[in-house]
């Protein structure tokens, strides 16, 4: 469904990604793990059209989206929760969500994957605080709003960049429950995560990134053994 082939990217004089390839199948949950500065976020920005790839191809459901601008990706069933959530802090929760719903409706017409009611049912906290400015919500609540906003874009593949960063363990657990529920509905997932413990809990397989390249591939069923693998420790702690 999502196929990234030999992508390279960077900023100005900096080359961050070198020849990165990965795949996410239909309804599959794949993790991209690696230490800080490995280039994970740059890959997210490249896939979702915020950063122009300098080489390689990105294909979604058979359509080449390498040069598609970020605001058109909802039409290809792709939504992303960026690092730090990137919500519109001064706007209310409802306003944040309405924006996404309008776009999602345009992309899918009557054939909505997630209705407003379903999404708000999935996130009771969000429903309670619809009128509050987003910046007054706690970090965990904001993360819920960010996921809800992405879902209203009606994606079949969700990319999440570091959804657990800076959140208390209890809150992370709640978010994992939501993600599991989405998986059961057949949602594809590309999870970018530094914390391999979390990643292994909700994904089928994974790629390990280091210094701008994919250095290991963890196949289905290999997660548990890999968690204690010295190769993993080396990728993180040198």
């Amino acid at each position: 469904m999502l196929e990234v082939t030999s992508v390279s990217a960077g900023y100005g004089a900096l080359t961050v990604l070198r020849d990165v390839s990965l795949k996410v199948g239909d309804g599959e949950a794949v993790a991209l793990v690696g230490a800080n500065g490995a280039g994970k976020t740059t890959l997210v920005r490249t896939v979702c059209g915020l950063l122009r790839a300098r080489g390689g191809r990105i294909v979604k459901n058979g359509t080449d989206i390498t040069a598609t601008p970020a605001h058109d990706l909802a039409q290809h069933g792709l939504a992303v929760v960026l690092e730090n959530r990137r919500l519109f802090g001064e706007l209310s929760v409802r306003e944040n969500l309405i924006l996404a719903e309008t776009v999602g409706r345009k992309a899918r017409g009557a054939d909505m994957r997630f209705s407003w009611d379903e999404v708000t049912a999935l996130f009771p906290v969000v429903k309670e605080r619809l009128a509050s400015p987003v910046e007054l919500l706690s970090g965990g609540q904001q993360q819920m709003v960010a996921i809800a906003r992405a879902l209203l874009l009606q994606p079949d593949l969700l990319i999440m960049d570091e959804p657990s960063t800076g959140l208390a363990p209890k809150v992370v657990k709640d978010i994992l429950l939501v993600i599991k529920a989405l998986r059961e509905r057949g949602m594809g997932l590309l999870l970018i995560e530094q914390n391999v413990g979390i990643a292994s809990e909700i994904t089928d397989r994974a790629y390990v990134m280091s210094v701008g390249s994919i250095v290991h591939e963890i196949g289905p069923g290999e997660w548990q053994s890999f968690l204690t693998d010295e190769r993993l420790v080396k990728a993180y702690l040198g």
């Binding site: 605001h71 990137r86 519109f88 001064e90 706007l91």
Partner: protein, 295 residues
């Protein structure tokens, strides 16, 4: 100093203040949406007013239609400037200073165009609500000024509703708060920037049309209005168009109350001194951080 003198100054201050507010709201809307300080904001006022004058006198349109025509002209010029210049320069990562120089150049060009095509003379528009005046405690206020105040307040409320109640308004705010977040929510950030210039042009033109029955419009009006509008926007915190409305009113009142009894050309000295002092001492504007929300 008599009461009627003070009252008269307040009337004048509110009237001027509304005009500054409209120009400042446009400037602030453009800055909020594009991070460009538009040094030709006052020219929008000239374009709006001159177009209205021409439509009224040369083509004989009815007054309300001519006013609408003037406002649309401001909006169109705004869109043109974004599409023709700002977009190109933004793609090349032009500096703040380059945008300032660009808009100064455009201001010179537009002012010279008015001089060339329309001439050196000032033009007046008929006052809304006729020539009548209202007299309160010996202080005189023209009916037109009352209309101006009403329309100015109406436009401010309409702007607020536009930002919070329409999808385009919300999208414009979203794009200005977090461009990446907006793009990944399916908002075309580039198009929103064009819309902010349309909005800025519209508000500036409206300010120009409303002030013309009182002071007339000529090719030189733009620069002074730009500076006053900028002062209004800075007082309001620059990224908050509704703050600019408060800023404009404050500025109008301060300058007209400060010069009671002395020569009126000190008005600009007062206004611009206030601008400099506020920028240095209160960079967030007179509303402070709280004023950021709700724009």
């Amino acid at each position: 100093m008599t009461l009627s003198l003070v009252l008269q100054a307040i009337f004048a201050g509110v009237t001027n203040g509304i005009v500054y507010a409209l120009v400042g709201m446009g400037l602030s809307a453009i800055f909020k949406g594009s991070r460009v300080i538009n040094a030709m904001q006052g020219e929008f006022a000239v374009i709006g007013a001159m177009t209205t004058v021409l439509l009224l006198t040369r083509t004989g349109w009815p007054y309300p239609a001519a006013i609408a025509g003037g406002a649309v002209a401001g909006a169109l010029v705004g869109a043109f400037i974004e599409v023709a210049f700002v977009r190109y320069m933004a793609r090349k990562n032009a500096s703040e200073d380059s945008f300032l120089l660009l808009t100064i150049g455009l201001a010179l060009t537009l002012s010279a165009s008015v001089l060339f095509f329309i001439g050196r003379d000032g033009h007046l528009l008929p006052p809304l609500g006729g020539e009548g005046v209202l007299i309160i405690l010996d202080a005189v206020i023209q009916f037109h000024a009352l209309w101006l105040i009403a329309i100015g307040i109406g436009a401010t409320l309409a702007l607020r509703a536009f930002y919070h109640r329409t999808t385009i308004g919300l999208s414009m705010m979203a794009a200005s708060i977090d461009a990446d977040g907006a793009a990944t929510t399916g908002i075309n950030v580039g198009r929103m920037r064009t819309f902010t210039f349309v909005l800025g042009g519209l508000l500036g033109a409206l300010g120009g049309i409303l002030v013309t029955p009182l002071i007339g419009v000529d090719y030189q009006l733009g620069l002074n209005l730009t500076l006053k509008g900028f002062a209004a926007a800075v007082l309001g915190g620059l990224t908050n168009p509704l703050g600019a409305a408060v800023g404009g009113l404050t500025l109008g009142l301060v300058e007209s109350l400060a010069i009671i009894g002395i020569s009126s050309s000190y008005k600009d000295v007062v206004a611009f001194s206030v601008l400099i002092i506020i920028m240095i001492l209160m960079p967030q504007g007179i509303l402070g951080r709280a004023g950021r929300r709700g724009g």
